[in-house]
């Protein structure tokens, strides 16, 4: 027992005390963050999981997940669309991303709660999990950097970013978890069999929402490129190609690259169903034009001349003070990639840089720039990096006295400022669907025959037509513009212009080959009200002219034709036609 041993023990004790202090501080700051987070997400579902109707569904895409989850719950063949999503056409290939709906359907079955309630649940859960996973990854670099990254993620709950939650980016939210887990696969990619996990993540990503997975892989490409250049592997291989054998045995980058290539077949197994139709996605017209005047670039600054103000689009000014931190973080990330040699940092920074870059391009097709709504989560490393640098600078300026206190004050300050500027407001509970509408939809589900056609007449909130696909029956809707034209003429007519399901892609399997068809054949068809088995209508409208017109039409159907009321509540009425294809009432001028 010498003096040295005693010193060592004291040192260990000191280290442990310091460690526990740090852990306790980190824990306290995490709890504060969690409280703010729970406050932020409380606006989305009113403290309830189960709601009497689709809650906070602010756009048609929100309903898609519930529809496809019900399709999973009730149908036996997931590869072929059911009649209510294909307008009765047989053998229509289902190309919808099914990972989200299959997860949703199972949770719905397990709990006995309607599928639509899990759209919000899964979006929120997966956003929080993705943030937590990124946080755990950033801890590998530095605990403080990881903590300082967190506040930015709160922005995702504030408009316009919350579009990702309330407007139906559910599939992107599901996919986000696969791309952040893939970062861990990259970290361990030199280990045996990890390529299988990476293959599963990439495959599941493609099945969830392929675009984000493609974007992630551009980050992977940048990471490998940076490593190959930094380690001078390319130069060495050019000089001595035989050295590849040594690299394959000893070099982490080359072993990782080899394993990345091994992961591709695993990913392809996941995509087997999509091979016949893959090509059609590559030449799909981009909507990024809406973001700017250039076809390839979507301009970031929002100005009147360059970027038309589409209210739900994301531009840098929406980040307020964070936009400057993002720019500083981006510059620092590029500097780190070039001049520093930290493999973990290379993985996460390559990823963030490419996710940021991809928000400007439309090369991956329709709606690529929607990734911007998820920037608050996916770009947390950049903000973390700039705040970490600021913290280090302040620490030096204060000569490293009470650095933990400084760090805690900085973290809390940013959280408070974020809470002041970015606390989300409560949105409308039932903007489209409400308990009356949902009750009527359920009645149709249970009582309408599978071969019956239901016509949904124009209603004030019927512009998100996917909501009616939840009837799980064959249904058509009146074309809003044509119907308005008809109303403005003041002539009640039994002829209406109708349209069917609006999903864009339409592939039919014919004799083992797949043929693309134009779905517009179901649109703008002029038909008689008496050709339909059921007529669904709202009783009230905020536009008096519409209400009078609709009520008069329904009265005429009951009085002059063979229609009877089979269901009604305070808002909705459903008529049944007992003489399908019969002669309908004649046009009448409305006084």
């Amino acid at each position: 027992m010498g003096v040295n041993d005693t010193n060592k023990e004291e040192l260990e004790l000191k280290f442990k005390t310091d460690f526990f202090k740090k852990v306790r501080l980190e824990f306290v700051l995490l709890v504060i963050f969690a409280i703010i987070l729970l406050k932020f997400i409380s606006v989305f579902d009113g403290g309830l999981l189960a709601h009497p109707a689709p809650y906070n569904h602010l756009a048609g895409d929100m309903f898609n997940i519930g529809i496809y989850a019900d399709f999973v719950k009730y149908e036996n063949d997931l590869a072929t669309l059911p009649f209510y999503l294909s307008q009765g056409v047989k053998n229509v290939v289902n190309i919808f991303s099914m990972t989200g709906p299959i997860i949703t359907a199972q949770l719905s079955q397990f709990t006995g709660i309607e599928s639509y309630d899990f759209t919000m649940h899964i979006s929120l859960l997966f956003i929080i999990l993705s943030t937590a996973i990124l946080y755990i990854f950033l801890r590998k670099i530095d605990n403080k950097l990881a903590l300082l990254s967190l506040p930015l993620s709160l922005l995702v709950f504030k408009w316009p970013f919350q579009y990702a939650i309330t407007w139906g980016m559910h599939m992107s939210n599901v996919n986000m978890i696969f791309i952040v887990v893939s970062l861990f696969c990259l970290f361990y990619l030199d280990k045996k069999y990890i390529f299988i996990v990476l293959g599963i993540m990439n495959g599941a990503g493609f099945l969830s929402h392929a675009r984000e997975t493609l974007m992630f892989n551009t980050g992977v490409a940048l990471y490998f490129l940076v490593r190959l250049i930094k380690e001078k592997i390319l130069i060495n291989l050019a000089k001595n190609p035989a050295s590849i054998k040594n690299y394959l045995k000893e070099n982490t980058t080359i072993i990782s690259l080899k394993n990345y290539i091994y992961s591709v077949p695993v990913m392809l197994i996941f995509m087997y169903r999509y091979f016949p139709i893959l090509g059609s996605f590559l030449y799909r017209k981009s909507t990024t034009l809406l973001y700017g005047t250039n076809q390839l670039f979507a301009y970031l600054p929002q100005t009147k001349t360059v970027s038309p103000n589409v209210f739900h689009h994301v531009f840098f000014p929406h980040f307020l003070f964070y936009q400057y931190l993002l720019v500083i973080g981006l510059i620092a990330a590029i500097y780190f990639l070039i001049f520093k040699n930290n493999r973990t940092a290379d993985i996460i920074l390559s990823f963030s840089i490419m996710i940021l870059a991809n928000g400007f391009f439309s090369i991956f097709g329709n709606k690529t720039a929607q990734i911007r709504h998820l920037w608050p989560v996916l770009l947390i490393p950049l903000v973390g990096l700039s705040l970490y640098m600021l913290n280090s600078y302040l620490k030096k300026a204060t000569k490293e006295k009470s650095s933990n206190l400084l760090f805690a004050a900085m973290f809390l300050g940013i959280i408070i400022i974020t809470a002041i500027y970015f606390t989300p407001e409560s949105t409308s509970d039932y903007p489209f669907s409400d308990p009356y509408t949902w009750d009527a939809i359920k009645w149709i589900r249970l009582n309408v025959e599978n071969d019956a056609k239901t016509l949904i007449l124009f209603g004030d909130r019927h512009n998100q037509e996917t909501m009616f696909y939840l009837t799980l029956k064959n249904q058509f809707r009146t074309n809003r513009d044509k119907y308005f034209e008809q109303i403005s003429k003041n002539i009640i007519s039994s002829k209406v212009i109708t349209q069917g399901v609006i999903f864009g892609e339409f592939y039919v399997r014919v004799n083992n080959t797949i043929v693309e068809k134009d779905r517009s054949i179901f649109s703008n068809v002029k038909e008689s009200l008496c050709d339909y088995n059921y007529i669904y209508s709202d009783k009230y409208s905020q536009i008096p002219q519409v209400q009078t017109y609709v009520i008069k039409s329904l009265e005429k159907l009951i009085k002059e034709n063979n229609f009877v009321v089979v269901y009604q509540n305070d808002l909705v009425v459903i008529l049944k036609n007992n003489d399908i294809g019969g002669i309908c009432f004649e046009d009448e001028v409305l006084l």
Partner: protein
């Protein structure tokens, strides 16, 4: 051998249990107006259907990857692989996925434990 597996699994169950409590608490606070039983069911559903199967499959990395990172990988594998398997089985059998989903999750947990056993054997 079996004793070793049991020891590893018991250790792993601790982190799963901790995660479960965290999930449950988060759901309970967020859905504060909801029935307790429903909250419990939703937490069990997430864990039994996705997280435990994924985590179980990642047990094969028990000596190569630290526990928290394995949990992260397991979450990804669970939510990614289980739905794909259901889809693929449906493609072959045309049987409604709701009729066999819980068995697939159970099978994945079993496969994970078997893979752990073979990993330990391989190591020896």
């Amino acid at each position: 051998m079996n004793h070793e597996i049991r020891k590893i699994i018991l250790k792993e169950l601790k982190i799963i249990g901790l995660m479960f409590v965290l999930f449950y608490l988060m759901f309970q606070i967020h859905y504060y107006k909801e029935n307790l039983f429903i909250i419990l069911k939703i937490a069990i559903a997430h864990f039994y259907l996705f997280i435990i199967p994924g985590y179980s499959l990642c047990l094969m990395f028990y000596d190569k990857i630290e526990r928290l990172d394995r949990l992260v990988l397991g979450i990804g594998v669970g939510y990614g692989l289980q739905p794909f398997l259901l889809y693929a089985i449906n493609d072959i059998t045309r049987i409604n996925v709701m009729r066999y989903n819980i068995y697939v999750s159970g099978a994945l947990i079993m496969i994970g434990v078997l893979m752990l056993k073979y990993t330990i054997l391989d190591k020896k």
